[in-house]
Subunit: 395 residues, 2 copies
């Protein structure tokens, strides 16, 4: 072998000077204008309620994307792993960070170390055992992160219901262990299964009420409860009243996706990420078009399978991002996608010869993003790749 | 912030000296002994048939794993992306590489460049357009890769049926364009939906017959057809006769997974990869245990959902790899897994306090592997991490 292989492209970061026509496929494309519009929309909604936006960066996992939310300097953020906290602190100077996953006691020492490094890292717990582990780690590090008590507002996952005496018991255990109480935190995960505006507004109100009730119960018991944190992208966009809430967390709003469209939170032309792909075969007798984006590029997420409109593994658009009627990724293997018309469609399969470039809108932006090393950024309706924004990964 | 964040662990490669009890979770674990046993099993089967094993490295994506298949030096391999070809050539010295995905004409130049760099890269095509693009790229690079004609043996995806006159037309187009014919290549993808040994043996025979028939048709038309390549993990293990076949491609055999177990190709204790996780919460009133392995660690793959036994997002084992009866990952969000007993189970939910470490067997080894930056390798039934093997990613 000669040296040409030593500079192999791989997850190329040198994609500037490229265009949608020349970039190697499959590739993740980010429409910066759509993203900016989505950010402005949620900021506008929350400004009316006079609450803080603490975006969940588990969707974007990119300091460049985070900077579009906070053009004036690092603001409050949410993360889903300690590695994300370390990344955003290190690469972006973010120092007000909530880690919104229930604390594994084995991670308490690492969390305390991040806190000791100058980051106001806030953790999430719902048991006395976690409080004790965190307190011990804080003592050892000479610096103890504060923690939220997780509140269960809809039976979705973890947390304590506002009327459960365990709520006060955990706050007491935190005080005993020397762990500052950051406040209460809840997430209306069940809102993802809704699609009716009234039901979404009701879910938002239940989320608000659970968080505020829990905060009130703690305050009545003599505990300070400075932050009242709620958040999911659907409830953030459908909340009518946020009285008593101090901040909203939301993640997927930055890009939106087909699941969010199915819930009714956004329009198709709000979707800011897509996967660029190329036609590599056709099977006209079966109504199939084969492309080089399989589940490795799209993810295995089938989040629209239980919605009114099943989008398969994604909705197919032309290179400019305009959807073909009813054309979806019907099947996916690792590096092959099979495009076909949605069952029952009266549309005609478009004539897309081998080599044609297409863009596929994903079911779930968080899952599709995670399949890629970074974003190829387009803007101003132009096909040129104006920037490459790396994503972080890992735990 | 001080300097402690500059050496953040992230996708730590410094996991040696760690054990299953101390490694940060979630983490991908590879049992090297099980992997070696799986490799020996398929090698043994193929030796009886006197055919070559050309493993598909899209599953492992690791040069360290590839070296366990080829302890005496680089052998013939299969890849699913050109970046994989470049990686295995560069990092492992592999020079006999089949890229088994239909060629995007835009990638022909890059493929020819790899070939010109000293790699016997063989491509996959099924149209005259692809032959023309490859021939042109070969001329420009001064070196043209050979190509397989893809044969359709079961209507699964791409390729030409052996009796289709297009087969000869494509071979002719290749000759006209100056593209050497490597042979024929087929993949019995439909075998993944089977579970009966007789049906699997029949699928293997149909795969063999289609490839051999296509090779014979080409030879009758005057074309050389040196390689007759078949392969899927199920058919590779159930083939009774491989007369006329020269090589077998298989990928997931190296690790196996719950889908392969559901098909009947392996036992549960053949599964070589698992995800190490930690209990972070319990909801006894719902029969739930919460862990820190969600879909980011497991993937969104639900490949067992249509099998006789639905394994959710994975089957839960204790830290030593022994399964709990009927305990599965019932739901998954990005960084949370919810463990519950399989519907209808009469088993008792085990008592697993916060902080308990578990290992989860995946539905689909290729998809779960892709969620991780590398393998934490265990061996000899010991809990120590003996090595960290990075995975490659990207296109």
């Amino acid at each position: 072998m000669n040296d040409t292989l030593l500079s192999a492209p791989g997850d190329a970061s040198d994609t500037t000077m490229m265009t949608l026509q020349t970039l190697s496929t499959p590739a993740l494309i980010l429409d910066r204008d759509r993203m900016d519009r989505n950010i402005a929309r949620l900021k506008g909604l929350l400004a009316k309620h006079n609450v803080t936006l603490r975006p969940h960066l588990k969707t974007a996992k990119s300091v460049d994307a985070a900077r579009r939310i906070f053009p004036d300097g690092p603001g409050p953020i949410t993360v889903s792993t300690l590695a994300e906290a370390e990344y955003f602190a290190r690469e972006g100077g973010f120092t007000d960070i909530t880690y919104a996953v229930g604390l594994d006691p084995n991670k308490a020492a690492r969390a305390a170390q991040i806190h000791a490094g100058g980051v106001d890292l806030k953790l999430t717990i719902d048991t006395a055992e976690q409080a004790a582990a965190l307190g011990a780690a804080g003592k050892a590090a000479g610096s103890c992160p504060a923690a939220f008590i997780e509140v269960d507002c809809d039976g979705h996952r973890g947390g304590i219901t506002p009327d459960d005496p365990k709520l006060i018991a955990v706050a007491q255990a935190m005080q005993d262990a020397g762990v500052p109480l950051a406040g209460v935190l809840t997430h209306a995960g069940e809102s993802y299964s809704l699609h009716d505006p009234e039901a979404l507004a009701k879910a938002a109100e239940e989320e608000r009420a659970a968080a505020v009730d829990a905060a009130d119960a703690l305050r009545r018991a003599g505990f300070d409860c400075p932050i009242v944190s709620v958040g999911s992208t659907p409830t953030a966009h459908f909340a009518r009243d946020l009285t008593g809430v101090t901040e909203v967390r939301a993640g997927v709003f930055i890009f939106f996706d087909l699941v969010m469209h199915g819930i009714g939170v956004c329009q198709i032309d709000d979707l800011a990420i897509s996967v660029l792909t190329t036609v590599i075969g056709t099977k006209p007798e079966k109504g199939w078009i084969l492309v080089d984006a399989g589940w490795m590029a799209m993810s295995r997420d089938r989040g629209t399978s239980n919605q009114a409109v099943d989008q398969g593994y994604g909705l197919v658009c032309d290179i400019d991002g305009k959807p073909y009627p009813d054309l979806i990724v019907d099947q996916a293997s690792q590096e092959h996608g099979i495009l076909a018309l949605r069952k029952g469609s009266s549309a005609t399969l478009p004539d897309l010869p081998i080599g044609t470039r297409l863009r596929i809108l994903p079911n779930h932006a968080c899952a599709t993003g995670a399949q890629h090393a970074g974003y190829n950024v387009i803007a101003d309706g132009r096909p040129e790749i104006t920037a490459y924004w790396p994503r972080m990964r890992g735990w």
